[in-house]
């Protein structure tokens, strides 16, 4: 479903984010409150086997790409489009950093 290769615009976008929010890179995997909502369905570790897709093995860059695609509608899901629409670029970066392998 999701390619391993990141598109150039997203890579550039990440570099820009890192430039403007260097504290995001410095921080030791902070536990963002927003992640608490994600983990209720997706789990952080040990999410149990069922229809809800596991995010355990996705990398940070994959998660940024997926969440952005949900947000802009390139990827059509069920509730994820509605949830990602409420996330800022910074939220997406923080969540991806936290959940990414």
């Amino acid at each position: 479903m999701v390619g391993k290769n990141l598109s150039k615009p997203i890579l550039c976008f990440n570099l820009i984010l890192i430039f403007f929010f260097p504290q995001l890179v410095m921080a030791e995997k902070p536990f963002p409150i927003a992640a608490e909502s994600c983990s209720t369905c997706h789990g952080k570790q040990g999410s149990i086997e069922n229809a809800i897709p596991s995010i355990d093995s996705l990398s940070q860059t994959e998660l940024v790409e997926i969440l952005n695609k949900y947000k802009n509608g390139e990827l059509v899901g069920t509730i994820m489009n509605r949830l990602a629409a409420g996330l800022s670029d910074e939220d997406i970066f923080i969540l991806a950093k936290y959940f990414g392998t």
Partner: protein
């Protein structure tokens, strides 16, 4: 349970109490000899359990005591599936062993009273528990006084089934033993109440049961509202799955319940009388009795809180979450209570570390089953609104309900996700 023989009195804390409290027997402290902060959590549902586990995970410097009413928790989510015979009660019943294994102090002893000045929780057994910070997630109570000449005993005949357990089974038994071609009334309350889409999911799943077991039966929804959660999705699904079976009677068509006649199984409204074989009367609601009698509701029905810390606007050091509280735009749902419990744990951890809690971003997702393979959902994203005292306000452009239109694949997916949502949520709490 706190072992009273091992209680050591901490002088620093002791001198702060009134003489009467010192005289009270059974003053208990959990591990009081340490300098750890005492966080006491009252409530064994979505809010309380999620708060306890999150705090245990992120704030190892606290002593956590979880106070429960019962040795097990029966979830309201999926209780409509029990009513429709799609699940058994034991499948939605959870024990607290997972939390005991984490080393939390767990006390099963209902709370009698909260003493906000001296910072004690008084239990029914007579034991008193001291707190530095108290979290309560006590749920709802019913406003029986909203009906004329009615008290809680009416639920023995007209079950609310709005707290899962015996009431769930009573309603199921009444439906299962109803005569062929009978009528079921579901009477939902006005907003705000626990689980806004719940009555309509209930109507749907009962219709599913009737379709195969009592196909001439009817469901009347005599509603205290003119519109309801996910209404267009529900109504088009009813046309598709249960044509002619469910009738929604909005408030404007009956003007409210005037009288309830238990003997004749009749609900009289201001415009019309409704007779039924089974009546599911879901009363208007307010914060649970504990919140009310502790003064935490102020002059209203619900608890006002600071949305960043969940701290009561009435009493310091008491944090309230879940259905009992007004949490910005968030609906009264199990998922909301769970994310609030976790956010509250973060806020308390910050406060105990002399930090100001950061802004919060919370989400809610609620699935409803219209049929076993037909799911719909509503979602919301809520962010602290800096312009409005950090109120948790809906993020514009986000959230909303499932896409409308005939889309069996989507409905099937969402039914599977509803089951996955429940499995993960309850696993996170009780696993």
């Amino acid at each position: 349970m706190t072992n009273l023989t091992n209680v050591k009195i901490n002088r620093r804390k002791l001198f702060g109490f009134s003489a009467s409290l010192i005289a009270a027997k059974n003053i208990a402290y959990a591990n009081i000899s340490s300098n750890k902060s005492e966080v006491v959590i009252v409530g064994g549902g979505f809010g309380g359990v999620s708060a306890a586990r999150a705090l245990n995970r992120i704030a190892p410097q606290t002593n956590i005591t979880l106070i429960l009413d019962s040795h097990e928790f029966i979830t309201c989510p999926f209780s409509n599936a029990v009513i429709a015979g799609l699940k058994e009660l034991k499948e939605i019943t959870f024990k607290y062993d997972g939390l005991k294994n984490l080393g939390l102090n767990i006390i099963v002893d209902p709370v009698k009273e909260i003493e906000p000045q001296s910072k004690f929780v008084k239990l029914k057994s007579g034991e008193n528990i001291y707190y530095d910070r108290l979290i309560i997630s006590p749920g709802i109570s019913f406003k029986w006084e909203a009906f004329v000449n009615v008290n809680s005993e009416i639920a023995d005949n007209f079950p609310h089934a709005w707290k899962a357990g015996n009431q769930t089974l009573l309603l199921r038994n009444q439906i299962f033993s109803m005569r062929q071609g009978g009528t079921i009334i579901i009477a939902p309350p006005d907003n705000p109440f626990r689980c806004p889409p719940g009555p309509y999911e209930r109507a749907s799943l009962i219709a599913h049961y009737l379709k195969y077991n009592n196909p001439k039966a009817k469901i009347l929804i005599v509603d205290a509202k003119n519109k309801f959660s996910k209404q267009s999705l529900f109504m088009s699904a009813w046309d598709e799955l249960y044509p002619g079976m469910i009738e929604f009677i909005p408030f404007s068509d009956h003007a409210g319940i005037k009288e309830i006649d238990v003997e004749n199984k009749k609900i009289s409204t201001y415009f019309e009388d409704f007779h039924a074989d089974v009546i599911n009367l879901i009363p208007p609601q307010r914060a649970a009795d504990l919140a009310l009698k502790s003064g935490l509701t102020g002059t209203g029905d619900w608890c006002e809180i600071d949305c960043l810390t969940f701290e009561s606007k009435v009493f310091k050091n008491i944090h309230i979450l879940g259905d009992a509280a007004i949490v910005g735009d968030m609906p009264k749902s199990g998922f909301s209570a769970s994310t609030q419990g976790k956010a509250c744990a973060h806020a308390i951890n910050d406060i105990l570390n002399d930090k100001v809690p950061e802004s919060a971003l919370l989400m809610n997702t609620c699935y409803s089953l219209v049929g076993p393979e037909y799911g719909i959902s509503v979602a919301g994203v809520y962010r602290s609104d800096k312009q409005n005292q950090n109120r948790l306000s809906s993020v514009p452009g986000a959230g909303g309900t499932s896409e409308a239109g005939k889309n069996p694949t989507l409905r099937h997916f969402e039914a599977d996700f509803a089951r996955g949502w429940y499995a993960n949520l309850t696993n996170e709490m009780f696993g």
